[in-house]
């Protein structure tokens, strides 16, 4: 819900500075085809390539930039390695660094939600549903294996890392990405209600749109 809201605002800011924007839902998510439980990281990574091809055609441009939030940042990082998707800019917005920890966060958030309910199914370990969606075994296992610090460096002309919290892991990622020729970093503190990260922050949206704005805008 908040992600949709934030990405819509970001798209508006980017279009104001002259950047064409395509927002899309992964397979099995939002308005896209498929059931939620049919999605896999591999399919979603392929979706980014499909979206890239579509955007190039629609906007008549030769290269695109990718912006990914949380798990989307991991997918964008991986998709950037392919010829179709290799981006001009790759924006990693609060990327998931460790899939296991990410799943634990989601489980805790679900538990907090259940604590407010009178009735809920007995929690299973591993969880079968998270955040209102079915979590198929394959997707859970794929997600648990994510270790962004161990992945090959992303393939993009410029890479930007924006984080809401300065943690030891984020610092390690920053250090690793600093070896790239063109890299930028910003810490945009989380604000707003608990659990929303910096999705409600106008500043992070401005930072991203400034980074991607054409030089003559």
């Amino acid at each position: 819900m908040l992600t949709h809201w934030a990405l819509r605002r970001l798209a508006a800011l980017l279009s104001k500075v002259g950047v064409h924007v395509l927002r899309f839902d992964y397979f099995g998510m939002g308005d896209s085809a498929g059931q939620s439980e049919e999605g896999t990281l591999q399919i979603w990574q392929q979706d980014i390539q499909t979206a890239t091809v579509a955007l190039k055609k629609l906007a008549k441009v030769e290269r695109v930039s990718l912006i990914g939030y949380r798990l989307g940042a991991v997918l964008a990082w991986r998709a950037a390695a392919t010829a179709e998707a290799r981006p001009q800019d790759l924006v990693l917005w609060d990327p998931v660094l460790d899939g296991g920890e990410y799943l634990t966060e989601l489980v805790e958030s679900d538990a907090a939600f259940c604590a407010r309910l009178l009735h809920y199914p007995t929690p299973t370990d591993p969880p079968e549903e998270l955040g209102g969606y079915v979590l198929p075994t394959g997707l859970r296992q794929e997600t648990a294996r994510i270790r962004l610090l161990d992945e090959p460096l992303p393939n993009a002309t410029r890479v930007h890392l924006y984080v809401g919290r300065e943690t030891k892991e984020n610092a390690a990622l920053r250090t690793r990405l600093e070896s790239l020729r063109r890299f930028s970093y910003a810490h945009v503190p989380e604000e707003g209600v608990n659990g929303s990260g910096n999705l409600l922050s106008t500043r992070v949206l401005q930072v991203i749109s400034s980074a991607l704005a054409p030089e003559d805008s």
Binding site: M1, A111, A115, H119, Y133, N194
Partner: protein, 309 residues
Amino acid sequence: MKERVVQFGDGHRLVGILTEPSEYRSPRLIAVMSNVGLNHRVGPSRIWVDLARRLAAQGIASFRFDLSGLGDSAPRNDLSGDDERAVQDLQEALDWLANTVGQRFVLLSLCSGTDNAHQVATLDHRVCGAVFLDGYTYSTPLFLFYRKGMRFLSMPHWRRWLVRSFPDTFGRLRGQSRTAGAANEIFRREYPSRDRFEADISLMVDRGAHLFFIFSGETMYAYRRQFWDWLERKDWKGHISLEYYPKANHTYSFRADREILMAAVVDWILSLGRSRAIDSETNRAVAESSIFASPAAPIPPRLRSDLAS
């Protein structure tokens, strides 16, 4: 089934997704859904998307759209309040659908969305059915008995009370410290009086509309027939269906609950489509062409002012 993005309304500000079956069932009914709280048009846990596609598989079209300022729809540039804007948006959606797809509508709504659906279903003769999920509720003596008295014997109430009251002890034991969503108590809805509610339902039913009220266990509803107990009039049973899912939460966030709900809603809409009464009565209403004219009952002053705005 085919789905397409639609921009409609004044200045094409509003955005919706039209889901059409490969073959329409007769009569042509269109289910209409909009935002639930701040969720965009997919609904919580994508429930509207699943429902739209299940309905399409049964030959029924549906339209999921974003109200002004929510999801992908642009805000309205006028001074009207949120409720007025939502009612105007819903009517613009029905106008667009009436010109392009068909003229008989079933409104599906959840929580605060039922407020807008209730107003439009009261006024608009093209609405031949409405599904209200956790719509308005009113207290009854038996409700107070169950909610205030019997809860002391209810383990789920005790567990929730402990976790809410002592989150550091009981919350942490279960990994349930209170974080996201702590602001859910802030939201308050303004209810029409019980008499107003009953008058509105009279308007809907007397013109032939069929209504389906569904209540979850997370609203001010405590026993199956509470709905009938708060009403004076009892002769609507042929037009009003009722379900109570005491173990489901307000947004049907668990799949098993969603499956039961969606099966019930799809069945009800199919039965509505089979109803000869709906067919003839709604056809008559539509044929009378004046969408808001209500020859059987005058529009009450409050609704007239809503309409004027």
